[in-house]
């Protein structure tokens, strides 16, 4: 049976601004997940600036969170965090 591919708009051009596009979830490429230690985090927002996929979120009241639908696990955020608050944990350590 022929595979059914996802529908793609012309040249993959999508409306903006939008923080999420359900058609383009790419977080499933990740095998290391960033995890923040909120005790250490100073909320300096360095990780927010550096994340190439705009996955660091400060919108929620409880500080830093990561949008795992799009986070590729590149580790840039953990490298730039000045206080070492972000660790990278293998995906298989999580239930979902």
């Amino acid at each position: 049976m022929a595979k059914v591919y996802k529908q793609v708009p012309f040249a993959a051009i999508v409306p903006s601004p939008q923080t999420e596009n359900e058609g383009m979830i790419t977080g499933n490429w990740r095998f290391l997940r960033p995890v923040v230690d909120k005790e250490q985090c100073t909320e300096c927002k360095t990780c927010y600036i550096y994340c190439p996929d705009a996955c660091v979120n400060f919108a929620k009241a409880d500080g830093v969170s990561f949008n795992l639908k799009y986070c590729k696990g590149c580790g840039i955020c953990s490298n730039v965090c000045p206080v070492g608050a972000i660790s990278r944990v293998p995906e298989l350590d999580f239930d979902e």
Binding site: Y5, V8, A12, P15
Partner: protein, 414 residues
């Protein structure tokens, strides 16, 4: 009123770009391309042309600038030569994939072995698999005309693909010749303003070139493949309309010369066709029933047109003015493509590969005669006697082998 001008292939393209009222041109010097950017800069500085000229810090940046400008809705141009073309390589697929119909001028130049600046088609042919439409002009007039036709085809809402106006470095880019510069009204009638459906616009923001899931890749590639097949119909349509508006009629895909009664035919593209035609006149006097098929397009490859035309002949000698080391039958890219296009065609001719005119060498009459002689032997034998011939290197005719022997003897010993 159209005016008669004396200029080069590069001034002719600068004229085409001025008449097309381009918005942005991205530049980075490399000969022989450089003269077009110099020409544009001069016109902009003199106030005779309105255009944003942006200098990249290299060819990769240069093509990226044109890419961005096109995304913003500009009619954008750029170009390069030789290793400059290959330095920008990463940008070609994204430009075609985001369906930005920028136009690039390539004045062909060899890819370096150390600094041979002569003309070869190898630079352009290396990017044949990226979704750009292109073909070679044989003179200044055709460069100008192709540029206008390519804008029209590439910017068509059903197509939206980038184009390369390719021309042999120096032979076309730098040799002064007469050409007719069309009238602005004619161009305006033929080429509407570029008005893409999608563009970067703060009032209606879009994301272009987002990261996608693997399952979304094949449909995008399928789209690019399908549109490439549609380009052929558009070429026929636009070439015909061009003839009506400007009065210059071109064969859409393959220009034939003295082929009516021919049993043998040279197949090539670009400026060497000019010498080839004059060589054919002598060959005809010597009793060779030989003609020429000059390809006007390389991508999309005119396989259907070639299949119809080449079956009229018994032997086709495909002349490559570029290299593809290790390619099948010791041929170049063009001969490989012609053979592939003809592979399932009934009644096809015997196709013989020649490589000649590398490094900016002209293909001389004698070399055309030698190739014709070889094709005649093939015709008489009904099969190829020597395949994949590098003219002057494979020693099939005495004169050439003697010259080469003398050259080797004169070379300093290690």
């Amino acid at each position: 009123m159209p005016i008669k001008k004396k200029g080069t292939g590069l001034t002719a393209v600068a004229d085409a770009w001025q008449l097309a009222d381009i918005d942005v041109s991205a530049s980075y010097p490399i000969r022989p391309y450089t003269a077009v950017m110099a020409e544009l800069a001069k016109r902009i500085a003199n106030g005779t042309m309105q255009c944003e000229m942006v200098h990249g810090e290299g060819e990769h940046a240069q093509f990226s600038i044109a890419h961005g400008a096109s995304m913003a809705g500009a009619r954008a141009t750029t170009g390069s030569s030789g290793v400059g073309v290959t330095y920008a390589f990463e940008t070609y697929s994204p430009i075609a994939g985001s369906r930005c119909p920028i136009q690039a001028l390539v004045g062909d130049r060899t890819l370096d072995p150390p600094g041979d600046f002569g003309s070869e088609h190898t630079d352009c042919l290396t990017l044949r698999d990226n979704g750009w439409i292109f073909g070679w002009a044989q003179d200044a007039q055709e460069s100008l005309d192709n540029s206008l036709m390519y804008f029209r085809i590439g910017e068509d809402p059903d197509i939206m693909l980038p184009q390369i106006v390719a021309m042999d470095g120096y032979f076309v880019t730098h040799i002064a010749q007469d050409y007719i510069m069309p009238d602005q009204d004619q161009v305006d009638k033929f080429l509407p303003k570029f008005n893409p459906k999608f563009r970067l616009d703060v009032k209606n923001p879009v994301i272009m070139g987002p990261q996608i899931e693997p399952e979304m890749g094949p449909p995008l590639e399928w789209d690019r493949h399908v549109v490439m097949t549609k380009v052929k119909e558009k070429i026929v349509e636009v070439t015909e309309e061009f003839g009506k508006v400007f009065g210059r009629k071109y064969a859409p895909f393959v220009e034939e010369y003295l082929t009516e009664d021919a049993d043998m035919v040279f197949v090539l593209q670009g400026a060497h066709a000019v010498t080839c035609r004059s060589a054919i006149k002598y060959l005809r006097e010597a009793g060779f029933k030989i003609g020429l098929c000059r390809l006007r397009w390389f991508r999309p490859f005119p396989d259907t047109a070639l299949a119809q035309i080449l079956t009229k002949f018994k032997v086709a000698g495909v002349i490559d003015t570029g290299t593809s080391y290790g390619a099948p039958c010791s041929g170049g890219v063009l001969s490989t493509e012609v053979k592939a296009a003809m592979s399932e065609v009934a009644g096809k001719p015997i196709i013989q590969s020649f490589t000649s005119g590398l490094g900016g060498e002209t293909i001389t009459h004698e070399e055309f005669f030698a190739m014709a002689e070889m094709m005649k032997q093939t015709l008489q034998a009904g099969k190829i006697i020597q395949g994949g011939t590098w003219v002057n290197f494979n020693d099939y005719h005495e004169g050439a082998s003697q010259i080469n022997a003398a050259k080797h003897e004169a070379a300093p010993s290690k």
